[in-house]
């Protein structure tokens, strides 16, 4: 399979005023593939995720999903098409229960209704390890469970691709292990994953491929060991070696 046929971004340019944040990024993933995106602060990782999710329209370039040009489609439409994303800072509806939060995702854009929406929500809660907390108010959750809920809300839309933005930050080692189990379970069901993460040692336990961005450009793309051993990648994080 050519990876470009599933979700791809070609020649993406994004400017914030005079600053070029993405400078001709081309990136593609295959159906069911798990890809990690790394890069130093300000590299353009979240901006790329926003372009893929449809919450930011690029100045130039094309986003294709299952062969169709979706560049002009907004986030709500892409969600209905099967592209879901989580945000860096989880912001659940605090006064709704965990179940109700997920139900919002399940019914978004008419994805599911009635008994089907409830069944889907409960299924997603179990897959994300939140089954026992279904009736708890979201604002009472700890950090790990908020991150699980953030992922669960995205999964409830029934996506073919899940875009994860730094869900591993701030967790203990044991919590990160639990989160990995949940993400792995999602991938095992055939959902493709694009995961931005600063915590590289957690990321490389799940993904088979890493893409490194620096200053708005892809500087490495390949197997995690190779990418993290690439001198240009190390230089991007730690400055040029003497």
């Amino acid at each position: 399979m050519t990876s470009g046929e599933f979700l791809s971004a070609e020649g993406i340019r994004v400017h914030f005023g005079a600053l070029t944040v993405l400078d001709g990024v081309t990136f593609a993933i295959a159906e069911g593939e798990a890809v990690g995106i790394v890069g130093p602060n300000g590299a353009g990782k979240t901006t790329l995720l926003n372009v893929l999710a449809g919450s930011l329209r690029p100045a130039e370039g094309v986003v294709r999903f299952r062969g169709a040009d979706v560049t002009g489609r907004g986030a709500a439409t892409r969600s209905r098409l099967g592209i879901a994303r989580s945000h860096q800072v989880p912001r659940p509806f605090g006064d709704l229960t965990v179940f109700e939060n997920v139900l919002v995702g399940a019914t978004a854009g008419g994805a599911a209704r009635g008994a089907e929406a409830r069944r889907r929500s409960l299924d997603v809660l179990e897959r994300c390890g939140l089954g026992a907390l279904a009736n708890r108010r979201a604002e009472a959750l700890g950090l790990l469970d908020r991150k699980r809920l953030e992922m669960a809300r995205a999964l409830a839309t029934g996506p073919a691709v899940l875009l994860l933005d730094e869900i591993g930050g701030g967790l203990t080692d044991a919590e990160a292990d639990e989160l990995l189990v949940a993400v792995e379970a999602v991938r095992a069901q055939g959902v493709a994953i694009v995961w931005i993460e600063h915590i590289v040692h957690v990321l490389v336990r799940l993904v088979g491929r890493l893409v490194c961005l620096d200053a708005g450009s892809v500087i490495a793309d390949g197997e995690p060991d190779v990418v993290m051993g690439d001198a240009a990648v190390v230089d991007a994080y730690l400055g040029r070696s003497a």
């Binding site: 600063h198 957690v202 400055g239």
Partner: protein, 239 residues
């Protein structure tokens, strides 16, 4: 002689534990560099030492005195000064006014407006200019001078080269060399490892709120720091 001691320090941002049981010491006259990826807790650690962020637990000791619960202005008076990330000058005040404001809590010492303008000659022609009109590099030098106005015993520097053009970074480090030559005690956060190894006698690497590597700049190799920086040895061990 240990001037600054941090003991099992913890600091949080809401639910997130940003600094998790960090302990370190800084000897008088020593320069220690903190490196680590974004989100490792470096800035929060510096801000907690300076009193700009509350410690959840643990202690900060300056010359043996516990300052953990003191507000930041009291710590400035005792000799801890922070040059914050992003410089944070008062943009509507002139360079001189920015320095004079910082002098209100000054300890006795060699630094005052005149000695600072002498030490940082690029600031002299800018002294009557609003700080907000300065270039990034000029602002950074002004921010360092502002911190020095209080005659600190420990200077905390947070990413002084962040967002600056390479030439401006050179100017800032040339200014810093002046301070280092005075035998200052400095804890600095620096993303550029080569620069950190050059200016500091010791380097501490942080990962996810903890210190994961510490050593003298002479001993540490780029490979060892890289491994600690990304936590890849731990990943390998678990596999």
């Amino acid at each position: 002689m240990t001037l600054l001691r941090v003991e099992s320090l913890e600091a949080r941002h809401g639910l997130l534990a940003a600094v998790r049981g960090v302990s370190l010491t800084l000897d008088a006259g020593e320069t220690l560099a903190l490196v680590g990826a974004n989100g490792a807790g470096k800035t929060t650690l510096l801000r907690t030492i300076a009193g700009a962020h509350a410690a959840a637990s643990g202690r900060v000791l300056l010359d043996g005195a516990d300052v953990t619960r003191l507000p930041s202005h009291r710590r400035v008076g005792l000799g801890i000064a922070l040059v914050p990330e992003g410089r944070r000058l008062f943009p509507g005040l002139t360079v001189e006014e920015n320095l004079r404001v910082a002098g209100t809590r000054a300890r006795p010492g060699r630094w005052n407006l005149e000695t600072l303008l002498e030490a940082f000659p690029l600031l002299r022609p800018l002294r009557r200019q609003p700080a907000g009109t300065l270039s990034g590099g000029q602002q950074q030098v002004a921010a360092i001078a502002r911190a020095l106005m209080s005659n600190p015993r420990v200077l905390l520097l947070d990413e002084v080269s962040l967002g600056l053009a390479p030439r401006a970074v050179e100017d800032v480090y040339a200014s810093l060399a002046q301070v280092l030559g005075e035998g200052a005690t400095i804890l600095l956060v620096e993303q550029d490892l080569g620069r950190a190894l050059n200016v500091a006698s010791r380097v501490v690497c942080m990962l996810e709120g903890r210190t994961v590597l510490e050593g003298s700049s002479r001993e540490l190799t780029r490979e060892r720091v890289t491994e600690a920086y990304f936590g890849l040895r731990r990943a390998g061990a678990k596999a």
